[in-house]
């Protein structure tokens, strides 16, 4: 226990020493990571906001089945059974002709008088169905519509907000795109960090050689470098989050109002907390991999050094 504490104490001291001695290279690579992660973070910011808007729009994806005016109760209950039996249907709501008329009049109250004066009900009864969220929801709705079209008692069908379903496909594309960009970026960052660590290693080569000759373990030699990589990742990620937060604040201040028509009242959110944490963790992991990659090469070269 004491030995472990001693080990940590020495290793942390060595890491701090490295960072100080190697300040310039360290800051440059932190800055590089900050910029790279900020770009990725901006994408993520847009993506996370689209996603949360999606979930509000999502409620509007529905299939509306208008019924014949002379539909029988029997036909109605058959249709309802059909809807409720469909595995993708999440919710079915029935609106009778009277309710439709009431709603209609209500939303136009104070409006044109001729509507209030109408003495017959022109509106059909309808079923509204919401479907479970899935990437090929639109296809499923279409398929189902084909079936329904031929059912007795059905007058016509309508998809609400077809584009939302299309947009969902687009979101999937964005997700794949982000994953690819993120993956490539991480790869690049690993190389950058491994290079940083390499420089740090070279700048202390004499010391390391001596440590080896005196009998320091490989782990003792390696750990400060690994921590250095982790630190680069950590500070880079934190700095990029700070930068993103500042940008987010600025965007909100400047553009929230003009974007309202797009966002339909949804406030532009910052990255969810879990995403921010993930960014930091991933960045630290990237730092670790980068430094491991370079330090591995040196220590593999055996004891000749």
């Amino acid at each position: 226990m004491r030995a472990l504490f001693q080990f940590l104490n020495n290793v942390l001291g060595a890491t701090a020493h490295n960072l100080k001695a190697n300040r310039q290279v360290f800051l440059v690579s932190v800055a590089t990571i900050t910029v790279a992660l900020s770009i990725l973070g901006l994408f993520l910011l847009v993506f996370s906001n689209l996603k949360s808007m999606m979930s509000t729009w999502d409620r509007q994806v529905q299939l509306i089945v208008y019924l014949d005016d002379d539909v029988s109760e029997d036909q109605k209950s058959k249709l309802r059974a059909l809807f409720e039996g469909h595995p993708e249907v999440e919710e079915v709501a029935f609106t009778s002709r009277e309710e439709a008329w009431e709603n209609f009049r209500h939303s136009f109250s104070g409006g044109a008088d001729f509507i209030q004066d109408l003495d017959f009900n022109p509106l059909p009864g309808s079923f509204h169905m919401r479907f479970k969220s899935s990437p090929d929801r639109l296809d499923k709705i279409k398929d189902f519509a084909q079936v329904l079209n031929k059912q007795p008692g059905v007058e016509s069908l309508e998809y609400g907000e077809k584009w939302v379903a299309r947009f969902e496909k687009f979101m999937i594309f964005i997700q794949v795109f982000l994953l690819a960009v993120g993956g490539l970026l991480c790869l690049g960052l690993i190389l950058i960090i491994s290079n940083t660590i390499k420089l740090s290693y070279y700048s202390r080569q004499d010391e390391i050689e001596l440590m080896r000759l005196i009998g320091a373990t490989n782990r003792y030699i390696r750990t400060p470098f690994l921590l250095e990589g982790v630190c680069v990742g950590f500070f880079g990620a934190v700095a990029s989050l700070a930068l993103l937060k500042a940008m987010h604040y600025y965007i909100q201040l400047r553009f929230q109002e003009s974007l309202d028509f797009l966002t339909r009242g949804v406030v532009i959110q910052f990255l969810p907390f879990s995403w921010s944490v993930s960014m930091v963790v991933v960045s630290m992991a990237v730092g670790l991999m980068g430094s491991y990659y370079s330090i591995h090469q040196f220590l593999e070269s055996g004891d000749r050094q």
């Binding site: 030995a3 050689e209 001596l210 000759l213 490989n218 000749r304």
Partner: protein
């Protein structure tokens, strides 16, 4: 303590640096290693703490089979051996005190002990007043003494020194030798590679002479 049997080492040149060296050095011995330039003295020392790998033969040091020693256990061998390098290998940006302390820190000695032992080691070589100086500010003899303090501070069982009196005047050389003798009296096995005829002629210790990688007399 140290046993070599038919050790062969080549750097790829025309003739090997060590060519069938067989010798034994017992625990607590003090021996000189000598021979003309290029005879293989440094190479021999390097093989003992496996700074260099041997090509053929057997090397036993403090119970370690050096030729077959796994990399992951190399540090255990090296902790048994203190080395005074020909070029000292002091870290120029650390003070004298930090240089000696460093040797203990890197093998995980706790802070208090480091302080006490460093102080003790510097006292033994008579450098306590210079503890805050940096190596480039020291004379050759002083640097040599720092290197000795560092080599001894972890209480090794074997002390290897390569040309420790190389560029020192006779008085200083005698002082340095006294330090090695002191260590030897404390039970450390000492192997000292040198050209210094004065030391050799004093005749107090056995001499191993190498020539072109072979042991000439023992």
């Amino acid at each position: 303590m140290i046993q070599l049997f038919n050790v062969f080492k080549s750097y790829g040149g025309v003739s090997p640096a060590l060519d069938g060296v067989t010798l034994t050095i017992h625990k607590g011995d003090f021996v000189y290693l000598t021979g003309p330039s290029g005879a293989g003295k440094t190479t021999l020392l390097k093989i003992l703490f496996r700074r260099e790998r041997l090509d053929r033969g057997q090397v036993l040091v403090h119970g370690f089979n050096v030729g077959k020693l796994d990399d992951s256990r190399l540090y255990q061998l090296r902790r048994k051996i203190g080395v005074v390098f020909q070029d000292y290998k002091l870290l120029p940006r650390k003070t004298v005190f930090q240089n000696v302390a460093f040797a203990q820190e890197v093998i995980g000695v706790d802070r208090k002990t480091v302080k006490a032992h460093t102080w003790q080691a510097l006292k033994e070589v008579g450098l306590t007043q210079k503890r805050n100086a940096y190596p480039p500010e020291l004379s050759g003899g002083e640097q040599q003494r720092v290197a000795i303090a560092r080599a001894l501070v972890n209480r090794p069982s074997i002390l290897l020194a390569d040309e420790p009196t190389g560029n020192l005047d006779p008085a200083m050389a005698a002082e340095i030798l006294a330090l090695f003798e002191q260590a030897n009296r404390n039970g450390v096995t000492v192997v000292l590679a040198t050209h210094n005829q004065e030391l050799l002629r004093a005749g107090r210790y056995p001499v191993i002479t190498l020539n072109r990688g072979r042991v000439v007399e023992s």
